[in-house]
């Protein structure tokens, strides 16, 4: 009998692993048409957008014959379908193309910038989670009190203040007036941990405010819902402390929507970094995107959108997978 139980449980585990593997394979395969559609959409959108990279490259005083020569050299005179075929062919060979402007491979440009954006995103995420979840739990625990109203008030403010306004405000106070933090720039962690952090504190704070507001609200709502469940009453009846009930029982069971919104928040960070990187002059992927769009640098824009799409897809996949860890009832 015992032997049968072990075999049965082993079979279940294997079946579960197989279904999880199947889910993973299906999800990864599903990304291919998604990315293909993104690629086609971006390619055609760019060609429909007004603007000519050749005219921009030639400079403000560029003559018509110079523009024509550049257009020819860049292959922009080829039929659109020919351009598309060449681009897709290069992508299949792992070549994202060469920037029109910098005479450098787009992958090289992205590699130069990814450090700054990743650092900004990670520090922002750490600040966000460290502040938003305790605030949300506190607001839920003191539901209806002045603490709750204060947290919700901050939340509304966090949503309402545009990132660039907050950014300039913080720069004016903490950089220009108090001289505590640099106005702009980025230092890699290889330049030392303190210079790295010193340059990232203000941008990360600026960027995190909107996500703190978002996640604190979601945490509060989820925890309030869970606090009304029977098992919470049971936990209190067992004599557990407030902290244990809140953190171990309530927060754990409210985790799925919080993780979902955090995941979406991470994906939205990609949009947020564009503004933050501009205000704080951080040479990251956000600024590269803006520069590429303004310069109609087609290969760079196309590559960046593909990279961002991949990030979205991977984050969504990770969120889905995390559900199985947070709630054992969820299986794929």
């Amino acid at each position: 009998m015992e032997h049968f139980k072990v075999r049965r449980s082993g079979t279940l585990a294997k079946r579960s692993q197989r279904t999880m593997l199947g889910f993973l394979v299906r999800r990864i395969l599903a990304t291919i048409p998604v990315l293909a559609m993104v690629a086609l959409f971006v390619f055609f959108m760019l060609r429909l957008t007004p603007g000519d990279p050749a005219a921009i490259l030639a400079g403000d005083n560029g003559e018509p014959h110079q523009i024509e020569a550049i257009r020819e050299a860049l292959g922009l005179n080829e039929p659109i379908l020919t351009q598309l075929t060449i681009w897709l062919g290069n992508i299949l060979q792992g070549d994202l193309g060469e920037s029109f402007f910098f005479n450098k491979k787009v992958t090289e440009l992205i590699a130069m910038r990814v450090d700054a954006t990743l650092s900004l995103a990670i520090v922002t995420l750490i600040i966000t989670l460290a502040v938003a979840i305790p605030l949300g739990v506190l607001a839920a625990y003191r539901h209806g009190s002045w603490v709750d109203r204060l947290v919700m008030g901050f939340s509304v403010l966090g949503f309402s203040v545009p990132i660039f306004v907050l950014g300039y405000f913080l720069i004016f106070i903490f950089s220009v007036k108090l001289n505590w933090f640099p106005v702009q720039g980025f230092k890699s962690i290889s330049d030392g941990f303190w210079p790295f952090l010193h340059h990232l504190i203000l941008p990360s704070l600026t960027l995190s405010v909107i996500y703190i507001a978002l996640i604190a609200r979601m945490t509060r709502a989820s925890v309030i819902e869970v606090l009304n469940e029977d098992y919470i009453r049971t936990a209190y009846a067992k004599g557990l402390s407030n902290m244990v009930v809140l953190m171990r029982h309530a927060l754990h069971n409210a985790a799925v929507p919080i993780v979902t919104i955090t995941g979406i928040g991470v994906a939205l960070l990609i949009g947020g970094v564009v503004v933050t990187e501009s205000v704080y002059n951080i040479p990251g992927l956000g600024r590269l995107t803006v520069d590429a769009v303004l310069g109609r640098d087609y290969p760079t824009i196309q590559a960046l959108i593909l990279v961002f799409s991949c990030v979205y897809v991977v984050i969504n996949l990770l969120i889905d997978l995390s559900y199985t860890l947070l709630d054992p009832r969820i299986r794929y």
């Binding site: 403000d60 005083n61 560029g62 030392g192 040479p283 310069g295």
Partner: protein, 525 residues
């Protein structure tokens, strides 16, 4: 030592290592914010100002313009012109070296001029008049003309895009249609390609082998001695951020400050603001001669009577300290300055405008006015023009777009509408339009002309006469005729002169050169 103490010591050491920054270098680094980011490191391939500015760091020129607008020898030591003005013999100075240690030779100069002559408008004209350009020996080059060309030295000293920079022959042999990949020059700075991060920073170090001239620095001529070890061009796109960085002392020098942010800098006693280019810039409005209604000279002149310089300058610059109404197409206070024929640009006369439109039979079709929205110094021009043109009897369809879209669209010859256009406005640096040959707006050779494509034989004859005239007094007379013709025919209009303001930390740097371009030689830190 107890176990607890050991753990504490290790933790302390770890934290110290985390927070320790890299050792501070003793070298002096000048931190500069230019007006834009450097994208193309071939100043002959593109006309972009940033590439030109980069060129002045890395390369040198045979001749250069001084602050009196006189041509001075720069890399050239001695030169002579034959009595018939057909042969120019130039000898390079002793000791000139490229960054790789190779001597600069006449063959390098010849190859560089030939490449430049394929791209630049003034260079192309010089080459058309050239029978032979060759190296006589390692240090001497000879230019033989087919017929007199009065602007040989002006062309070789051309200060703005494209500048005839001298490169090694192996680099200059690159076809003009391709960008160069080797950035060896002989200028005062060496470009650090390995430290170049496009969109972030461009790094130059002092060229230890640069042989500066003994004459004092004067605009692009004279000594280009370098007093700092390193220059970093930091790309800060946002003007407010750049101003904040200057106030906080994080940067030393800002090439161009928007006029509305100047009060912030003027209030700081550690910051110096100054106009380094006294000639400044000129607004230009350009009509499309290919399509109605501006294919009719009367309608072009009606538009010119409708707008006026003062409204443009007040609408964009605002502070009279930084603008000037000026009747001279080739800039006030220059040798070719004249106010002949300029009344039409200086004041609005709406009745004359309406009368001309009536005479021309203007049917009220709205003219497509392209409005650039993203550059401070251009954004308000089109709305001002729209208001004045409407008062002058025009109907105006003002279409807003970013500058890069405008730059692309202005090259389209399609009929006005969603693709083509009727009118746009831009700004020129003085160094680009000091005479009617270098200034693209006067070319009136139809489809080969600058955007707008004017087609006027009289103007072309006058320009040719100017190019061939060696006597400055005669040149001035022809320039006057050209200005009058430009107004009669309406090649383009002059929207007023305005000044750029540069700012730097006077507690951190000194000896900022008084040059019309943002150059960093002679600055001490």
């Amino acid at each position: 030592m107890s176990k607890k103490t050991t753990i504490l010591a290790i933790a302390l050491a770890f934290c110290t290592s985390l927070f320790a920054a890299n050792p501070v270098s003793a070298e002096s680094t000048l931190r500069v914010v230019m007006h834009s980011d450097l994208k193309i490191v071939d100043p002959v391939w593109t006309t972009a100002y940033m590439s030109r500015n980069y060129g002045y760091m890395v390369y040198d020129t045979l001749f250069a313009l001084d602050s009196n607008l006189h041509v001075q020898p720069q890399m050239v030591g001695d030169y002579s012109v034959s009595d018939n003005k057909l042969t120019y013999t130039m000898t390079l100075r002793d000791g000139l070296m490229f960054h790789d240690g190779a001597p600069v030779t006449a063959a390098d100069a010849v190859a560089s001029l030939k490449r430049w002559g394929q791209k630049d408008g003034m260079g192309q004209m010089l080459m058309e008049y050239t029978a032979d350009l060759s190296a006589v020996d390692d240090k001497t080059l000879k230019l033989i003309l087919k017929k007199p060309f009065g602007l040989v030295l002006d062309a070789l000293a051309k200060p703005s895009s494209n500048v005839p920079f001298i490169m090694p022959k192996r680099v200059a042999d690159t076809p003009a249609s391709e960008q160069i990949k080797d950035h060896t020059g002989s200028g005062p700075f060496i470009f650090k390609e390995d430290e170049w991060k496009p969109g972030d920073r461009t790094v130059f170090v002092k060229n230890p082998n640069y042989k500066a001239r003994s004459e004092p620095s004067s605009w692009m001529s004279g000594s280009k001695a370098v007093n700092v070890d390193r220059v970093e061009w930091i790309s800060i796109k946002d003007h407010q951020t750049a101003v904040n960085a200057l106030l906080a002392g994080e940067i030393d020098y800002m090439e161009s400050v928007p006029h509305d942010l100047l009060p912030l800098l003027d209030a700081d006693p550690n910051v110096q603001t100054a106009v380094l280019n006294p000639l400044g810039n000129q607004y230009m409005y350009r009509m499309n001669h290919l399509h109605p209604p501006f294919d009719d000279v009367r309608v072009r002149r009606a538009a010119m009577w409708a707008v006026n310089q003062k409204d443009f300058l007040q609408g964009v610059i605002g502070n009279p300290k930084y603008y000037k109404e000026c009747a001279a197409m080739f800039f006030c206070d220059t040798p070719l300055a004249t106010d002949k024929g300029a009344e039409i640009m200086m004041r609005s006369d709406y009745e004359k405008s309406k009368a001309l439109l009536k005479e021309a039979g203007y049917d009220g079709t709205p003219i497509v006015l392209m409005h650039s929205t993203d550059l401070n110094v251009l954004a308000n021009l089109a709305p001002v023009a729209k208001q004045n043109l409407e008062r002058g009897g025009f109907k105006v369809d003002m279409q807003s777009m970013d500058w890069q879209t405008l730059v692309s669209r202005r090259s389209k010859q399609d009929p006005p509408g969603k693709v083509g256009w009727n009118l746009f406005m831009t700004s020129w640096q003085s160094l680009d339009i000091l005479n009617p040959i270098m200034a693209a707006g006067y070319r009136a050779n139809c489809n080969k002309a600058w955007f707008g494509w004017p087609c006027d034989t009289t103007m072309e004859v006058l320009r040719k006469a100017f190019a061939e005239e060696p006597d400055p007094a005669q040149q001035k007379a022809i320039a006057e005729a050209i200005q009058i013709r430009a107004m009669e025919y309406g090649t383009h209009g002059h929207g007023g002169q305005w000044l750029d303001v540069t700012a730097w930390r006077k507690d951190q740097i000194s000896n900022v050169p008084n040059a019309p371009l943002p150059v960093q030689w002679s600055i001490s830190k």
